[in-house]
Amino acid sequence: MVDGAAAIARGALDAGCNFYAGYPITPASGILAHMLRELPKVGGIGFQGEDEISSIGHCIGAASAGATVFTATSGPGLSLYSENIGLAIMMEIPLVIAISQRLGPSTGAATASAQGDIQFMRWCTSGGYPVIVLAPTNIPESYHLTKRAFKLAKRFRNPVFIATDKDTVMTTESVPVDEMINAPDWPEIPTEPVGKPLDPYQINGTIHHYTGSSHTEEGYITKDPDIIAQFNERLKNKIESHIDEISLVKADLQEGADTLIISYGVSARSMEAVVIQLRSQGEKVSALTVYSLWPIPEKKIQDCLRGIKRIIIPEMNHGQYRHEIERLVNRDIELIGVNRVDTILITPEEIMETYHG
């Protein structure tokens, strides 16, 4: 019996995490509790900051000094993280951040189920620099994708999000042991960094500087438009030119299907249930689970479109990912959202109803 919080924390620890700072917020506090209890046992440090701004600041400092860092929060905390996430991008600091999604600011309904931060994660920084967002649909994937997030953060020296949600993080389920132990057959992430490796203030090391401003290679602020342009292009390209490596989906395609259901996170579980039901009724239907939400795995999505006339996209928001898919597909394909923003999970029946129109 395990909940998503424990699975994510375990994934972080098994990935070599030795530093955590965070601030309590439902439904992410479970991750904080696990990390702060487990870290000292492996010789790591974890503590609660006075707010989210300091917590992510602690993480950035520790990561710059060579620690492998992790933090978790929800939408309101992401608001407070966002300026520092921009800083981490500019300084090329590896960070793994789990976002346990809920509904809006404040409290009350805010602590209930939603997938409301899909666009927020992508666009939370001034300048709109790319980030990587991974979305597990269940508990074993929470564990394995968290481990993967650490590899990506290190390789790209960039913040990587785990987009989870209240239901996955807070629901305790019994999970087949082999699904936790055996890694899915996802392509490996190379270990060498794509750019210069991080230099953690070594004794007799090379003196270097960080700044959140556009800078020269040595870390000094510059006002030279050519250097600024090169720098900004590099940050964008280091992620976007590796999109094939980052892209991760599960395509469950059926020959002859003209309907494709695309989903992610907790909503993908209802999608899976529907696909089983439909096929048992003799329907032909394809399904695509998107694990790497950002950068958008455009090619992998387009690879699933042969013969497709209709795409159904269940998600617990007003269509935050559907609008992205709209850009990628021909106009003659019909796009239908199944959307809920009332704290209730999307049920297989609802998707079924939409399927039957």
Partner: protein, 307 residues
């Protein structure tokens, strides 16, 4: 480290003392502060203090926020992080916990530290992390060209208070003492010798060291000028102040008149630091460089400690 600037002496017991020159800490970029800006004073002062203490550049990490003053790390030859407005202190804390062998210094302005970063100031003081925080206090927002700051006096006219400020300033010294800082001092960049002594003591202090440094802005603050401070500053060391007496410290910190005290207001050498109390930092090298996992021995000790 260049040989020319470094003299290495051997004590009779064979211990090597490395005496560094302040020039060793000169950064690759020259300051673009206005001529006469107080911040030059702190820059030179920290260089001198580090040299006199013999801390080589690669053992120092300086974080800063955003402001004129926060451009400091770029002008200093040591590891540096120029962070966000108000956030140098949390980042410094993170560095210190990951590598507690570094001398960690956070610097910034009065707006940076007491305004937007005020919460971090309070809680870092309370946490007593062994870092140093030097605030270049010019009682104005310099970089944004002259708005009111949390340390501006009542009545101050600025671009954002065209009719004069109707708010009272924060007192950084009493605030730091009340928040639990274990080393609280004030210095003035125009009194370099005294300031260097304070900085050296701050760095040597085991705990959170806060130094509020009068660092006049010659462009946007025409009241709290070098002349203003030259006429008023009095060394606490000359008035028989006892830095273990917090009440006397607060009383003296409240004086803002013909006399303004500078020096060490308050020091608590007894309190343990966050690092001293952390169950994994009490022995061994930097946490970030250790291999993950603990020996059986250490685990036993740790569990015992955590119980």
């Amino acid at each position: 480290m260049s040989e020319v600037l470094t003299s290495i002496k051997k004590k009779s017991n064979g211990e090597v003392i490395t005496k560094l020159s302040p020039k060793e800490y000169k950064g690759k970029v020259d300051p673009d502060w206005c001529p006469g800006c107080g911040d030059f004073g702190l820059l030179n002062g920290v260089r001198k203090a580090c040299a006199e203490l013999g801390i080589p550049p690669h053992k120092i990490l300086i974080t800063s926020g955003i402001g004129c003053s926060s451009n400091f790390p770029g002008y200093f030859n040591a590891y540096g992080m120029h962070t966000l407005h108000g956030r140098p202190v949390p980042v410094a804390t993170g560095v210190k916990l990951a590598n507690h062998e570094l001398t960690v210094i956070a610097v910034g302005g009065d707006g940076d530290g007491y305004g937007i970063g005020g919460n971090h100031f309070l809680h870092t003081a309370r946490r007593n992390v062994n870092i140093n925080y030097f605030v270049m206090n010019n009682q104005i927002y310099g970089l944004t060209t002259g708005q009111i700051s949390p340390t501006s006096n009542f009545g101050t006219k600025t671009k954002s208070t065209p009719f004069g400020s109707i708010e009272l300033p924060i007192n950084p010294i009493t605030t730091a003492i009340m928040a639990g800082a274990t080393f609280v001092a004030r210095a003035y960049t125009g009194d370099s010798k005294h300031m260097v002594e304070i900085i050296k003591q701050a760095i040597l202090h085991n705990g959170f060291s806060h130094v509020d440094v009068f660092s006049p802005c010659v462009t946007y603050n025409k009241v709290n000028t070098h002349n203003f401070f030259k006429q008023r500053t009095v060394h606490l060391e000359d008035v028989d102040h006892d830095p273990t007496d917090w009440k006397a410290a607060c009383e003296k910190a409240m004086v803002w008149d013909d006399e303004i005290y500078i020096g060490l207001f308050w020091q608590n050498k007894e309190r343990k630091t966050l690092e001293d109390l952390d169950p994994v930092l009490d022995e061994g090298g930097p946490m970030a460089f250790r291999s993950l996992g603990l020996s059986k021995d250490k685990t036993q000790k740790l569990i015992h400690k955590m119980m």
